[in-house]
């Protein structure tokens, strides 16, 4: 039915004509239906379970206020995510700055360095860090043999190890948006500032930095949201002692089958991320950040 309706055919009854927008709607209908069935429906089930399991009410959400265990876990998650995001942004900014200002040949190699880790499984990368960071690992052995330290550093099995692993994973997600933004900055603005007597530092601070802020904010949102849901790296590099929200949810759902608590935390995560995006959309143009418009 859709094929004849898509082309104007005078012989058809009036009811089967579609306006221009109507036809576009028809084209996205399958995608929309898929979204509803495979995305909105399961999410609404999760939200529903968070207020109905094991009995109807907001008992599960009350745990956010009363359970010391959940509060501590949420604090750990927030602390690690915020620090990871900040470190990632600083490193990503430096890398992007160098990328934008280097020759095409150097850029190609640098991109390879940024992208290759992105294609390697997070599990493999966590174990690679384990080999490097452990007490008798490459880094500690090198430092000890050069005489810089005499007792091995605790680089792993704590939050330091978790953050090293997470920052490494997040760097491409920080670099790519910041680089995309910096690439679009008109270099003549900096040249103009310099021509008007600004020093290198002032030109950077007053012209380049403000112009690159949207990229930094976008990268920050992306990295922070990813960090909140991190599972593998904290579980492996944290020595079992760093409990973040994803692992906490997994334990509730799969092991002690307290689905109400698990879905409540998943819903909370969803609400927090939604809230963050809503607040940020008032400060910056989110659509522009993620490449649209």
């Amino acid at each position: 039915m859709t094929a004849p309706a898509a082309r104007p055919m005078p012989s058809l009854p009036r009811g089967l004509h579609f306006s221009a927008t109507g036809r576009y709607w028809l084209l996205i209908m399958p995608a929309l239906a898929m979204m509803v069935v495979f995305y909105l429906y399961p999410i609404s089930r999760v939200l529903w379970m968070s207020v109905t399991e094991p009995q109807p009410g907001i008992d599960n959400f009350a745990l956010l206020a009363t359970s010391a265990s959940i509060q501590r876990m949420l604090m750990t998650t927030a602390r690690i995510s915020i620090i990871t995001t900040l470190i990632t942004l600083v490193l990503a900014y430096v890398v992007s700055y160098v990328l934008v200002h280097s020759s095409e040949r150097v850029q190609r190699w640098m991109f390879l360095g940024v992208l290759v880790p992105l294609w390697i499984s997070v599990l493999v990368r966590a174990f690679a860090w384990f080999v490097l960071l452990r007490r008798e690992g490459l880094i500690n052995n090198t430092l000890i043999s050069t005489g810089l330290i005499d007792t091995p550093l605790s680089l792993i099995w704590n939050e330091t190890g978790v953050m090293i692993g997470m920052v490494h994973y997040m760097l491409p997600f920080g670099i790519l948006p910041i680089y995309a933004n910096m690439r679009d900055i008109d270099q003549r603005c900096i040249a103009a500032a310099r021509g008007l007597g600004a020093t290198r530092g002032v030109a950077f601070r007053k012209v380049f930095l403000p112009l690159s802020t949207p990229g930094v904010v976008g990268a920050g949102i992306l990295v922070f949201i990813f960090s909140l849901g991190f599972f593998v790296t904290p579980a492996i590099l944290g020595g079992g002692k760093t409990l973040m929200i994803a692992e906490y949810i997994k334990v509730q759902i799969l092991e002690i089958v307290r689905w109400g608590v698990g879905t409540m935390l998943a819903a909370t995560l969803l609400i927090v991320i939604g809230g963050l995006l809503a607040v940020l959309s008032r400060i910056v143009d989110l659509r522009k950040l993620f490449g649209a418009g």
Binding site: R135, W157, G239, T242, E255, R258, W259
Partner: protein, 354 residues
Amino acid sequence: MTKHNAISALSRRNLLKAGAGLITAPAVLGSASAFAQARKEVVLVNYGGAAMKAFDEAYVQPFAAQGGRIVLDGSGPLNGKILTMVQSRNVTWDICDGGITTLAELGPRNALEKIDYSIVDKTKVPAEFAYENGVVNYMFSSVLAWDTAKVKETPTLADFFDLKKYPGRRMMRKDSQAMLELCLLADGVPLDKLYPLDTRRAFAKLATIKKEVLYWNSGAESQSLMRDGECVMGLLWHTRANILKGETNNRIAFTFKDGLLQPGLWVVPKGNPAGAEAFRAIASMQQPEGQVKLLAAMGNGPSNPAAQALVPAAQRAMNPADPANAAVQAKINAAWYIENHSKTFQAYLDFISS
């Protein structure tokens, strides 16, 4: 005309044949499916890996020789997955490789079939490990292992908690089950007086070494932490300790003394597709021969007491259910776990992550 008649007669005869075929086909198919229903296929789920080949030789082939069919699925029967199947009334598993915590979480939620002890033979298992919703399939132990390069004499469980005598990192499982028991044994609680667990006392004991403990999630992780020398001592499954002992040429040693003997359980999800055939498969797996094969392949201790006599002398030392080894270990108490698993596990996670 005659030719035309012949053709039409022929085609009519063919048509009749075809018609007859159509009528009889469902009857034939019906009887075939009725035959298949007599011996349904049993889907057995375990955690994969080396267990797939070992289970095939020990269990699948002997059952096939009796005319039954077991299909192995190595995707891991976690509690949450079993419950999802049962609650959505879309059960595709018949027998799951579970443990005491499966009983504790799924039994009260009415997600497990009662074991049909008219088919499964209770006399072929130790009485204390035959439960209403699950029956022992093999024995395993949580044991103390140590790195002989760093710990010269054989340590006791109390030494595990003695950082002065043996400095260095320790390793425990990220699960309260067995770990709290071993804390209490180290603190001087006798083997047969463990239950009900004094969890406060266990956590107090754990607190004395908390800073030096790493926690493993998967068996592979426990092996890697000991193999790479990250920990001087560790509490882990005897099966993994046994593999470590072999691959490190005895650098890693372990003892059953003051270990905790635990049953691996067969459980049957409620409304399983094969019905009672699942219990016939379980009964078949009670034969001692297969269980001894499993011990040789993976170190899983036979659950049938009659199998102990068939174990070759060389394998007795690694058999947790061997009478000599069982005598120096505590035995887990399912009733206590059914009451307390959820909150104890949660408390343990809170304790180690705080």
